[in-house]
């Protein structure tokens, strides 16, 4: 069997051995339910409290602002639905903006006693758990949503955020770093903008700011006060912790309704028996994140980008080269289809992912690449390469040795040739 090279750290990461060791006692020895009052439960509770402290330290927040759950998908659902559901279950607090007609169906108006739907601003490049949650709220007529465009570099522009804000805007949700192209959004600036606007707004009309920080946790400053966020989501399995556990940071005073009932766990915000092993693992993993790893990974990633762009003709990097996560590279190779590239690399023992339609379950190309304005020729020929703390230089060298041959072979098969960009045959209908 060939030596395997993992370059898909954005998809998931292996457990750090120290994290595994920290978790082990909570499965068979200190296995108690952390909600139980007896010794068994209290032993588990200690692990829970320690983990909560570790997360609070990482975010620079209070322990009671840390809500453990099953992962960022749940966190993002809670953040967005929680804010909206709270508004709908509260007495009418928002007046209809002048000149605007009610968007609330007549049959609901009496129940809700309000005339405008709460407004959410998000971006077109969010992860599906944010986009689908927003669409769900639109379909159930609970909210109206603006999906901001990104520029050609894959960045949300602060001026666009400002333009989109209305009187009935209640929530802005912009991801910290995009999972496909790694672009880093201007979260601090948006945080400042929201604070500025809230100064002239009454408490009941405040705008809350949420960010999906799943990809950013390893690499970027996540201090919640520097960022100016009220809600922030992370998943342990992206930073060498276990799968199935995550956190939603909720700033004290944020009006939010729980979406999972069945107990008063997590300050009555998220019912369910504590996944104590997972939570302890998350705490340990987050406490191990350091800037030195980010530096080392960036060097290797830069070598990879350099090598690809220099040695493979007609290759391009997607997304901002500078405002980008230290571990991310996303390329297009016109003439070589993305899923084929991924399979060919997989057969050589190298794992990457692709934004091409062929590899997706609904046969649509990545919505992020589409939002970037990439033509089909680029969207269908893209691969994402993401490094991690276990990536070494030999792996990068091996990747740089194999990829050019893969691209050349696939371009020959498609008739696009190796060197010059040959126009693909015209559209003949699917």
């Amino acid at each position: 069997m060939k030596d395997k090279i993992y370059l898909d750290y954005a998809a998931t990461t292996p457990l750090d051995p120290e994290v595994f060791e920290a978790m082990k006692p909570y499965f068979m020895e200190d296995f108690g339910n952390a909600s139980s009052a007896h010794q068994f439960g209290q032993k588990a509770r200690q692990g829970l409290d320690k983990a909560r402290g570790e997360v609070a330290e990482f975010f620079g927040c209070k322990p009671e602002e840390v809500i453990f759950n099953s992962g960022a998908t749940e966190s993002n659902n809670l953040a967005i639905k929680g804010i909206i559901y709270k508004i709908h279950s509260s007495p009418p607090a928002r007046d209809l903006p002048k000149g605007e007609k009610s968007k609330v169906p007549a049959e609901d108006e009496a129940r809700q006693g309000r005339q405008s739907l709460p407004h959410i601003i998000t971006s077109k490049i969010e992860h599906h758990c944010v986009l689908d949650t927003c669409k769900n709220l639109e379909e159930t007529k609970m909210a109206e949503v603006t999906y901001l465009e990104v520029n050609r570099e894959g960045l949300v522009e602060i001026s666009e955020v400002e333009k989109a804000i209305k009187e009935n805007t209640v929530l802005i949700s912009i991801m910290y770093a995009n999972n496909e192209i790694g672009t880093v959004q201007p979260i601090e600036e948006i945080g400042k903008l929201v604070r500025k606007i809230n100064v002239s707004r009454q408490e009941k009309d405040k705008i809350y700011f949420h960010t999906d920080a799943v990809q950013a946790t390893n690499y970027l400053n996540c201090n919640v006060d520097s960022l100016g966020v009220d809600l922030l989501a992370i998943s342990a399995h992206k930073f060498y912790g276990p799968k199935g556990v995550g956190v939603l940071y909720i700033r004290k005073g944020t009006p939010i309704k729980k979406i999972q009932d069945g107990g008063a766990h997590e300050y009555d915000l998220r019912a369910g028996t504590y996944n104590i092993g997972g939570i302890v693992g998350l705490g340990k993993a987050i406490s191990m994140i350091n800037g030195e790893t980010a530096q080392r990974v960036k060097k290797l990633r830069d070598k990879l980008i350099d090598g690809v762009l220099k040695n493979i003709p007609n290759s391009k990097l997607n997304g901002s080269p500078e405002k980008r996560l230290q571990n991310n590279a996303n390329f297009s190779f016109p003439g070589a289809e993305g899923e084929s590239i991924m399979m060919a690399l997989d057969l050589e023992g190298i794992a990457v992912s692709t934004g091409s339609a062929c590899a997706s379950e609904n046969l649509q190309p990545s919505h992020v690449l589409t939002a970037l304005g990439l033509g089909h020729e680029d969207a269908h020929t893209s691969i994402r390469v993401t490094l991690g703390k276990y990536t070494n230089e030999q792996e990068i060298d091996k990747f740089l040795e194999i990829l050019p041959k893969v691209i050349e072979r696939l371009r020959k098969i498609s008739g696009s040739g190796g060197q010059a960009k040959k126009k693909l045959p015209d559209d003949f209908g699917c």
Binding site: E337, E339, S340, M343, C358, H376, G415, P425, D427, F428
Partner: protein, 129 residues
């Protein structure tokens, strides 16, 4: 995800390339869906029968697309035109040891490309008479 035969065809496709003076060309797919195939055939009359003497393909698409293109050229080469026309997507998928359901449309494209190439050949014959 893929059978051994699909992997084999993907790694070592047969009949890759194009034919300059092809007797029939069949193109299917488009860059919008990310799948595009072109089949070229050369037909010779042997003992009164029109035989696909040479066949080549170009394929821009996933591993399944490349494998099905390659496989159909192998299946069609040497066949009489009428026989080749009968080849269906299920024949290709079967020969490959099966395809994941979501990839069956690739084998459909391969069969379509072949039929189009044969139709093109027939049309060219008509217009040359």
């Amino acid at each position: 995800m893929y059978s051994k035969k699909v992997v084999e065809q993907f790694l070592h496709p047969k009949n890759m390339g194009f034919i300059k003076d092809a007797d029939g060309v069949g193109k299917v797919g488009n860059i919008v869906c990310g799948d595009q195939m072109t089949l070229y055939i050369k037909v010779k009359n042997k003992k009164g029968k029109n035989i696909i003497d040479d066949i080549k393909f170009e394929s821009f698409g996933c591993a399944a697309a490349i494998a099905t293109s390659s496989m159909i050229t192998e299946m069609a080469k040497g066949k009489e035109i009428g026989e080749a026309m009968k080849l269906k997507r299920d024949d290709v998928a079967e020969e490959l040891g099966g395809l994941p359901p979501i990839k069956m449309h690739c084998s459909n494209m391969a069969a379509q490309a072949l039929h189009k190439a044969i139709e093109d050949y027939k049309n060219k014959l008509k217009s040359s008479r």
